[in-house]
Amino acid sequence: MVGIYAKDLNPREATREFFAELFGANLIASALLPARKSGLNQIFPALLSSKDSLDETFPFAPVMPLSTAVQLSKITRFANPTNTVAVLLRPCESRAAVELVKLRQISLDNVLLITRDCPGTVEPETFEEKASDTLPGFSDFTEEQIRPVCRMCEHPTAPVADINIGTFGADGGIILEAKTDKGEEILKHIALDAELSDTSARESALKSEAEKRTAFMEKNLAELKKEVAGIEGLVKFFAKCVDCHNCRTMCPVCYCNECFFDSATFHFEGPRYEEWTQRRGILAMPRDEILFHLGRMNHIGLSCVACGMCEQACPHDIRVGQLFTLISTTAQKELDIHAGRSLTDPLPLATFREDEFTEMGEEKV
């Protein structure tokens, strides 16, 4: 079912209204939504127990301090809530959540997955600068202020959701679309203004948005590829890296409790350092940051949803999210893997197909 909802309201108000209806009809017991941190100009996900606090929520705030997928993992990893919790995610968060479901870090029992179209986000600092009593919206920012990973994002709408809140192609209000049976069941209880039988306006809006972003991506990544070429390019790209691992910490799909790169494998004794120094003459410290980045590319490159949380977390503004977008989009295309596409897709690195890369390993000698 696809329909127009609250056509006299703007998307923010319409979405608040929609959640108020969900609470009012007892369809959900709680909701995880982007909300203003009390008295501050920052937006973080918050759990609401009733519609009373909906005025504090800003469903379309163009800022993402962290991926809500990780917060959803915290809520559902050990035991699911007893009553239905609705979660509002943007497309990259939904795609990260799909990967975390595949990795058994999220369970969707008692979770109503609601996604919303996303035009892009700015960094939290940029958002804060523009904010006063009223918080800025997407149109308050210039294109250059939008994070480059967002401008390259080929997913303006989420592939997996129970219900999607559409803004592309909406002429007032929001477009509610049920994408699962659960979503259909919920929408039966919601008073839509009209069913949307002709979705061509929405489809063409989404298509032209995706095309614009693909064009920017191709140009931007082609330049980046030239810049990082070879080990010299890579070393230069990561020259300011302090090996803090913030990028890994904020990555929604890097889920291991103990990361290999923090493990005792890298606790070396003094004589080893002496030996390396003798061999090389000069040994840059800290060691292994190139190994860390290349290793992480191999560990999560096929699950990377290009949300750019790594880049936002980098204390030295290394464009690590753009680099990961470069390697992950290329590798995912080449290996026919689609991160975040479907809950039933197999895990990329724990599975295989007998008929793939069949020439590999077989070379006759």
Partner: protein, 141 residues
Amino acid sequence: MEKEFDPKIVGFFCNWCTAAAADLAGTSRIQYPANVRPIRVMCSGSVDASYVIKALLEGADGVLIGGCHPNDCHYVNGNYKARRRVALLKSIFNTLDLDPDRVWLRWISASEGVRFAKVVRQMTDEIKEKGPNPMGKSPQT
């Protein structure tokens, strides 16, 4: 005269096939270049990409991963998983212009001592042709 480049190749050899093939090549007195530093692993599927990258960053000129032929894995399917991981590693290396051809995956069964010797010879020749690995030469790596 400058000394001829003598490549260092790190080998990760599956215990059940390639490591046995290396043994067989030795006991059969088949001659092959001594450029490979073999490391026996329990399965090619246990070779994490970070081991391969670490070897290359530490100055190895090539990495040879030896596993069982498809459908022969001692652990049912570790070699298939290794194959996908190597494909990913090569894709990433290719994108970053890091020479994916320094990493070889070869299926060499326990009975293929002759194939083992030929693979090592071929790889040594090709790496010699390429010259030293620039990844291991930077003080920053």
